[in-house]
Structures are given as C-alpha cells and as structure tokens.
Symmetry: C2
Subunit: 207 residues, 2 copies
DNA sequence: CGAAAACCGTACCGGCGGTACAGGGGATCT
DNA sequence: AGATCCCCTGTACCGCCGGTACGGTTTTCG
C-alpha cells in the first residue's frame, strides 16, 4: 500500500516532466520505466495503458493546480477586505509565484491534452473540460463579488471576463516557453492585472 | 516540378490537420501517406525525415499566419485614420474572422511546437521563437503609433502589451479547444479589445 | 528525344506500445 | 507459522511505426 503509492507517484513525477517537454506521443513508456528504475511489468501493474497514465496525470495536475489557486486567493482575501483589491493582490501573488519558478513554468497539462484530443477517450477530454469550467467558476465568483461594489467601465460578459484569467495564463505559458523568457508569463499576468484595475476602478476625474 | 509541389502541398495539408489534432508524436507517417495516397518512398522523397516535415509545416503555417494579419490590419488601416480606432477595428475584424471558422480554430502550430521542444532540433525552436518575436514587433509597431496620439491610463511596458495580443490568441485557442466552444476565442479577442479601449481612451468626465 | 524530376516496390532494422503469464519477495493478518 | 495479499520482476512475444537502402519506373519539361 505505502510502497505502491510511492512508486506510482514516482512514475507520475517522471511522466509529468517528460510529457510537458515532449507531449504524450513523444513520451515512451520505456523511457519512463528506465528513469523510474522500474520494469515494464511494474509499470503496467500501476497503469493499464498509456491512456490510464494520462488520466491519472491530468487529474493529479488539476488537483494540484486548484490547491495552488486556493492558497493564493484565500491568502489575498485575508490581506484585503475589498474584493477588487483582494483580486488584484491575488494576481500579484500569482505573478510572484510564477516569477519564482526557477526554470519558468513547466507547461500546462490541460493545454497539452487539448492539443491531443484525438489521442484520448472522451473521459479525459471531459475531465479537461471540467477543469477549465472550474477555473471559470472560480474567477466568475470573484468578479461577481467585485461587481457588487464596482461597476465595470465597459460592458462585459462576466464569464468571458473570468475566462480571460485562464486565457492569459495559458497564452502566457505558450509565449514564455516559445521565447524561452520565463519572466514573460508573470509579466502577462501583471498586464491583465492592469486591465482589471482599469475596468473597475473609477476614473480620476480632473477638477 | 509542378506536380512535385502539388504533392508536397497535399502532404502538408494532411499533416497539418493531423498534427493539430494529435500532436507530432501522435501523427504517424504511415497514416499521412495512406490519406495522401502516396507511398512511403514518395513521402521520404519530399521530406528527409519527420523533423523536416515539422519544419516545413511550421514555416508554411507562420507564413500564412503573417499573411492573414497583414490583410486584416491593412484593411483596418484603410477604414480608419486614427491608429487606435484602426487597431480596435482590426481586433473586431479578427474576431469576426475567427468567429466564422466553421469548426473553430484548428489550433496553433507555434503552440504545438513549444509543447514539443525536446522532440525537435534547435533550428525549429529558433524558427518558432522568431515567429513570436515577429508578432511582438507587429503589434508593438501599432501600439507605438497609438501612443503618439494617446497616453495610456496605466503605466505599461509596450512589449508586454504587444505580447498580450499573442497571449490572448494562444490562450483563447486553448480554452475554446478544451471547452469545445468555438466562439470562445473570438470572445476573448473582444475582451482584449475592451481592455485596449479602456487603456487608451480618455475617461468620460462627469460634469 | 533525353534528362531530370517524381515517384513506386520491396526488403529490412530497431524501437515501442501492449499482452500474457509465471513467479518471487516482503509485509500483514490469522 | 502459514496463508494471503500487494508489489513487483523476467521472459517471450506481437504488430505498428520511423527510418534506411536501393533498384526500377513513369512523368514532365526543355
């Protein structure tokens, strides 16, 4: 039980790093077992096939992702009473966290999966979809609280605004990976922060 | 000569669709030659190996991408004199174009490549990087023109602002693919449009 | 007509995903 | 102390795929 879980985790760790660098199709099971120090039989004891590995990988990634967002934005909530200030602070904390990643963001498994749709069954695609919808609900909730206090200075759909946060994160990851500029992702989050600030903060009226 | 080009193009067409759905690793040469109606020898006559195919695919994609941006934003330039209005119109035209894609955006090869870094040589990665830098230069140029006339209402790095356009496109593609909501991408572009509008347009001063 | 371009056919190699199945060591329960 | 799981190892095998090699053939163009 204990040992099994540990081996399983080790496989997932190795697999996650490999998949984010080479994609699912580019990652061979043989290289995973070589790096994990396990045999092929051992691998198939833990995962029925590559699809099962992908599913476990994705679910673990999403769970961890949610945990990080929970931590960041609940901390931001503690530090600021105003919902807008709290959200802006959350984005700042997120940018700091992303900025502190030594080799930049390793990549998002949700993005990887969506660029591999035809390779996996509907189950995985549905899991992926639900993850994005969970992001939407999370940020939508925050914007709803903000809109109780503030009026947006441009007409905007709240779901689309919520999705913008995920969009900037996913897009920022792509750009910073392609450019090999790890800092780029955090910068893009801060640009989004400026936009949200502009959207809700009342204009400075000249007297 | 003529026929060769045509066959090559057909291979690239088939390969592009396959790669965007299953990634490079998930796309087999055998399936490409089956669908193209060519033999394996024929394939390797046109492309030395999978890497060469990837490079040709990426270069063609980038070229086409640039052409589309050229068209859209030069048309927007004709229709509006003011650089801000022209840019905002360009984003609207882009959103319309994305909205009209029957099955949604098929996916961006630049994103695919950046999630496959370890599978390709430095040459391809450099090509990819240059493509993103070209986007940056394009949009930076537009924002520079805007800033001659307008002052941003929030302090912002112009390169980061330029990258925001690419970020939203890449991120929007990921989200709309994951959610299977083709409209999502165009919506995100329009949210970006609202943000840019807010950033540069002077606030409506209440009297 | 001749030469180059654009393929086809065949044979082969090693790697990989996946299956099957037999067995073994170690912890745990009875 | 013995039985029973869990957690693997070892071996053998299959078919697909990327890639190489190379000889031959058709098509196209000058």
């Amino acid at each position: 039980m204990r040992k099994g879980e540990e081996t399983r985790t080790r496989i997932l760790d190795v697999a996650e790093a490999a998949v984010l660098q080479k994609g699912f199709g580019g990652t061979s099971i043989e290289e995973l077992i070589a790096e994990t120090g396990i045999t092929k039989s051992g691998f198939f004891y833990h995962f029925r096939d590559k699809n099962a590995l992908a599913k476990a990988l994705l679910e673990r990634y999403i769970e961890n992702d949610e945990r990080i967002y929970d931590e960041i934005f609940s901390r931001a909530r503690e530090l600021a009473d105003d919902p807008l200030q709290s959200f802006l602070l959350g984005l700042k904390l997120l940018a700091e966290l992303l900025s502190d990643l030594p080799n930049g963001h390793p990549g998002c498994l949700v993005a990887t999966v969506c660029y591999y749709e035809r390779l996996f069954d509907r189950d995985i695609q549905e899991t992926n979809k639900q993850a994005v919808l969970a992001w939407r609900r999370r940020f939508r909730g925050m914007f709803e609280e903000i809109m109780v206090v503030y009026t947006p200075r441009e007409p905007i759909e709240i779901d689309q605004l919520a999705d913008m946060v995920s969009t900037v994160l996913e897009g920022g990851i792509v750009l910073s990976k392609a450019l090999k500029e790890p800092q780029g992702l955090a910068d893009q989050v801060l640009v989004l922060r400026s936009f949200v600030k502009l959207l809700f903060q009342p204009p400075i009226v000249r007297q």
